[in-house]
């Protein structure tokens, strides 16, 4: 059963809703790109990983690389600035000791409570505070991962695929082909920088609630497609800590997809094509595919509020772009004339003008063609803009949920897609705030001893994650019982435990 997108239907044993505390603070944000396939133990500059202007980190092997010897030298240029306070080793140590949910994190990646190769052969990549990127790290148990995090205090952890052999042994396997990625979650990355050409409220690293709506509507459209069309049930949405969101589709069926299947899902979901000079970005045929019909229904409403009212994208001279998207020359000229004479006209009025001017006789094409052109415009301004490079390959790294974003200090917390609209990135707790919450917690408030994270505003997010993971494990277990062994044949790796 796919999740319903309406919040009312959540039953008691399903995910608890996340209700983060409100905060009015505004912070400069911009998102970290995922890593390309960098070399082992690469020396990376933190700024390069986290502050890149256009999510460039995707390019394979472009990450700076130094030899292990060089890398082990203390980085002379690294200074603690007010920005780096969040990834200060003491902060990080306390974070991993007291806040990071290792137990559920382990179960999430292990797909079972008993340690298996799903976890042990999984690649983790650590970005250390001295700028070193360590790839191909692996851990047999949650506890060993935890110990290592506390010892090394990595400001960032990325998650790669499960390999055919332990990633640490990759150099000792006899044949190169014996070390290959075999499975991983299907992942998506939605980043604000893809919206820069239509976003008017903020630029660059900044976000506000207005432009966050781009991410919200993307989540709604993609989530329902993944569940209802592809039949996936275990889709985890995660705030990327600054100005975007990631999705992790954790169903076994998704994890086992090869690259061509991943490309097919991306192709199915992709609607906008072409660069800035490519003209019209939406070219879809009619009748609309049911996925587009449904998406349009979801997005129509957002178009009125987020686009027309809040972004006001066609103010003044920007109306030229709207005119370019209208296929009817006669209508275009009539509108141009009207708008030239009232330059202050807001986008919502301009949008309404299209129909009224057309009705007054300035339409040479059919009204059906005009309706379709308007639908295309709605899609161009609202339809999700996925970063295609992130998810098409099995072995791509993606930043882990629940780590701290070094620039904002915010935790990469889950987003409940059923209540996507309620998520406010600017009120996501910061690591430093959480540590204060633990310290100010009054012990006598409860009878039994509780975990540190339960004393903080991180609790609703971890509760959500716990229920998510429980749902995933339950299904894995049922599949095991229900004759999956027969289906899987000799590929018994997952059944060893």
């Amino acid at each position: 059963m796919p999740h319903s997108v309406t919040p009312e239907t959540a039953s008691a044993d399903e995910h608890p809703a996340i209700k983060p505390e409100q905060s009015t603070q505004d912070v400069a944000m911009d998102d970290a790109p995922s890593l390309g396939e960098a070399e082992d133990s690469a020396k990376v500059n933190l700024e390069e990983l986290f502050d890149d202007d256009d999510s460039d980190g995707e390019f394979a092997s472009s990450a700076p690389v130094k030899s292990e010897e060089e890398a082990s030298q203390p980085a002379a240029t690294f200074k603690i600035s007010d920005k780096s306070q969040y990834s200060d080793p003491d902060v990080m140590r306390a974070f991993y000791q007291r806040l990071f949910p290792f137990r559920y994190f382990f179960q999430w990646l292990n797909h079972s409570a008993v340690p298996s190769t799903d976890f042990a052969h999984r690649e983790f990549a650590f970005t250390l505070s001295n700028d070193v990127l360590q790839r191909y790290q692996s851990f047999p148990t949650a506890d060993l991962l935890r110990k290592r995090c506390i010892a090394d205090t990595p400001p960032r952890i990325d998650i790669g695929p499960i390999y055919s052999t332990n990633p640490r042994d990759r150099k000792t396997v006899r044949k190169a082909s014996a070390f290959r990625p075999v499975s991983r979650e299907l992942v998506f990355d939605i980043d604000m920088d893809a919206y820069d050409d239509i976003r008017t409220c903020c630029t660059g690293a900044n976000i506000c609630q207005k432009c966050w709506a781009f991410i919200t509507m993307s989540i709604k459209v993609v989530d329902v497609a993944l569940r209802e069309d592809f039949g996936f049930k275990h889709v985890l949405w995660v705030y990327s800590g600054r100005r975007g969101a990631h999705a992790w589709v954790c169903d076994k069926r998704a994890r086992e997809m090869d690259d061509s299947k991943r490309r097919a899902v991306y192709g199915y979901l992709e609607v906008l094509k072409g660069g800035d000079q490519g003209g019209k970005k939406v070219n879809v045929w009619r009748p609309l595919h049911p996925h587009l019909e449904r998406s349009l229904n979801i997005l129509k409403e957002h178009f009125q509020t987020t686009i027309l009212a809040e972004q006001d994208p066609w103010a003044g001279e920007n109306a030229a772009h709207l005119l370019n998207l209208i296929p009817d020359t006669k209508l275009r000229e009539a509108l141009q004339k009207k708008w030239d004479s009232s330059p202050g006209r807001p986008s919502a009025s301009k949008w309404a003008d299209i129909d009224s001017v057309a009705k007054s006789g300035a339409l040479s094409k059919s009204s059906k063609e005009l309706l379709e052109a308007k639908q295309d415009i709605v899609l161009e301004y609202t339809y999700p803009r996925l970063d295609a490079d992130v998810g098409k390959k099995l072995n791509h790294l993606l930043k882990s949920p629940f780590v701290v974003h070094p620039a904002t200090g915010r935790i990469c917390v889950p987003i409940d897609p059923r209540n996507a609209e309620d998520f406010d990135p600017l009120s996501v707790p910061k690591v430093t705030e959480l540590l204060v919450e633990i310290d100010t917690w009054k012990e006598e408030d409860v009878e039994k001893k509780i975990q540190d994270w339960e004393k903080t505003s991180l609790k609703p997010y971890i509760d959500y994650f716990r229920v998510f993971v429980a749902g995933l494990l339950k299904e894995e277990k049922e599949k095991e019982k229900g004759g999956v062994k027969r289906e899987r044949g000799d590929n018994g790796e997952a059944m060893e435990f």
Binding site: S62, A63, K66, Y195, R263, Y268, L272, G275, D276, Q277
Partner: protein, 503 residues
């Protein structure tokens, strides 16, 4: 594209090859009977062939595959490809249906069967070769499948044992409108539908040409082609993996090894290679960062576009930077000068940010940093037109790629006018080329127009040979040729020969 120079294999060498000895297969199928024209190539060949047949059949098939690859490179549609391939297939790899009443049906099918397996051997050694082979064999199979006699095609499909669940009447009634909308049909058309796991039809899913519900794809019976083709590819890919693993054992026959090696070599040079001699242009002294603005007049449109965007925005997005850096490296700009060039170009950026975020990638492109392989290879090779034409289209804010492909016709015309192409006939020619997706033809058309006078001169003088004026398929060739032509009479005429790019 594929080279057609097969001269290194001695055609006179003739020997009988016993396939049994090479573990090609068990002997019991010694003479196979080919009931159907189409073949999923599940059974390996078992009969004996001469070495000459072995080689000739393979080369003929290779010719067909290379033409298919050329079609794919030129973005020809299925229909155009089919039309273009008709005569080539008739000549090199005829394969007629039973209803054609041809007399040579069994022999044709045998050749098709054997040549497929020979090339499978030759091209299973690396993943890149396997991928290309599988891609081209899939195109070939689809082409033949579409044109097969419908009744014979159904007979063939029945032998494949594909598991398709038919959509029942109730469900059909419930989903009819959605199923039709998904395939782009109007309401009311009646047809049969199949239901399969969506993973079985990734092609249809990727193009959003099928209804998906809870992980099932609802496929109209007429899309059977996609299902069969996907199954063909899937099985071929599996077989290629197996062949690759078995390959070491197949090396025993030393008479075949050179032929196989040669066949695969003929297949490994798909694009116009960049030759480092392109960076040595007589008469052009060492280029420094300050010279790029002037030299950009001689750049092909893709690089001029990047240059102008860079000047307009003082910034370029990643893939644009990469494409441009490699090109600049290719025209002979040193690493040091290249860093200076980018540093000055990103006017709005602090030194600190530049050094932290950008310098590394430039050094990496030059092979100054990075893993051993990158350094040994002196970084990345400048992109050829094929590479630029086949990579992903630019997204919002990006400017990489070939403008003939990525720009709308109106924007392209505007861009050409900005760089000085005003001739209406040329602009119309470009528009026609682009409509037919012959992007490199458009680019060469513009080149010939921009260098009309000079080309005439070198032709009249006979100072440049015809090959010096071949179709340009690499941006660095464009620059070199343009620069030399624009500096004729400065002691550089006629020096292009001898260090041309390898084809």
């Amino acid at each position: 594209m594929i080279r057609h120079d097969y001269s290194r294999v001695d055609p006179k060498r003739r020997a009988y090859i016993d396939h049994k000895k090479r573990q090609f297969a068990k002997a019991e199928f010694a003479q196979q009977n080919y009931e159907h024209r189409l073949n999923f190539y599940t059974l390996p060949p078992t009969a004996e062939v001469t070495l000459e047949e072995f080689e000739t059949w393979a080369i003929n098939r290779l010719k067909v595959l290379s033409e298919l690859e050329a079609c794919s490179f030129r973005n020809r549609s299925q229909e155009e490809t089919a039309e273009y391939m008709t005569s080539i297939l008739n000549k090199y790899l005829p394969l007629r249906s039973n209803s054609s009443r041809g007399t040579n049906l069994q022999e044709e099918r045998k050749r098709d069967h054997y040549s497929h397996f020979i090339l499978r051997l030759a091209f299973s050694s690396t993943e890149e070769l396997r991928r290309r082979f599988s891609h081209l064999e899939t195109i070939l199979f689809r082409l033949r499948f579409r044109e097969d006699d419908p009744r014979e095609r159904q007979d063939f499909v029945r032998t494949l044992d594909l598991e398709w669940e038919e959509v029942g009447e109730d469900e059909k009634r419930e989903l009819r409108d959605q199923m039709l909308a998904a395939i782009g049909s109007k309401k009311g058309e009646e047809q049969d539908w199949f239901k399969v796991d969506w993973e079985r039809v990734p092609e249809l899913v990727s193009q959003r040409k099928v209804l998906l519900k809870r992980g099932m794809a609802y496929v109209p019976a007429r899309e059977q082609t996609s299902l069969v083709v996907a199954e063909f590819t899937k099985r071929l890919d599996e077989q290629l993996e197996l062949t690759a693993r078995a390959l070491p054992r197949l090396d025993e026959d030393d008479r075949l090894a050179p032929i196989l090696a040669h066949l695969s070599q003929s297949f490994t040079a798909p694009e116009a290679a960049y030759s480092s001699s392109d960076a040595n242009i007589d008469g052009l002294s060492a280029i420094n960062a300050g010279a790029i603005d002037t030299l950009s007049q001689n750049f092909p449109l893709c690089m001029q576009n990047l240059h102008m965007t860079l000047r307009a925005n003082s910034h370029l997005k990643h893939y644009g930077r990469l494409q441009y850096t490699l090109f600049l490296k290719g025209i002979g700009l040193s690493l040091e000068e290249c860093i200076i060039f980018w540093r000055r170009s990103f006017k709005l950026m602090t030194d600190d940010k530049f050094h932290k975020e950008y310098k590394y990638n430039i050094r990496h492109s030059y092979g100054d940093v990075g893993g051993d392989a990158n350094r040994r290879g002196r970084g990345y090779t400048p992109y050829s037109c094929q590479k630029i034409l086949t990579e992903a289209l630019p997204g919002p804010g990006q400017t990489h790629g070939c403008p003939y492909r990525t720009f709308t016709v109106e924007n392209l015309t505007g861009l050409l006018q900005r760089v000085g192409v005003q001739d209406r006939e040329v602009l119309q020619g470009v528009r026609d080329d682009v409509k037919k997706q012959r992007y490199h033809v458009a680019c060469n058309r513009v080149f010939e127009h921009a260098h009309k006078k000079e080309i005439k001169k070198v032709k009249d003088e006979g100072s440049w040979s015809a090959t010096d004026l071949d179709t340009i398929v690499h941006p660095n060739t464009y620059f070199k040729r343009s620069w030399l032509l624009k500096h004729l009479g400065e002691g550089n005429a006629g020096v292009v020969g001898g260090d041309r790019m390898e084809e």
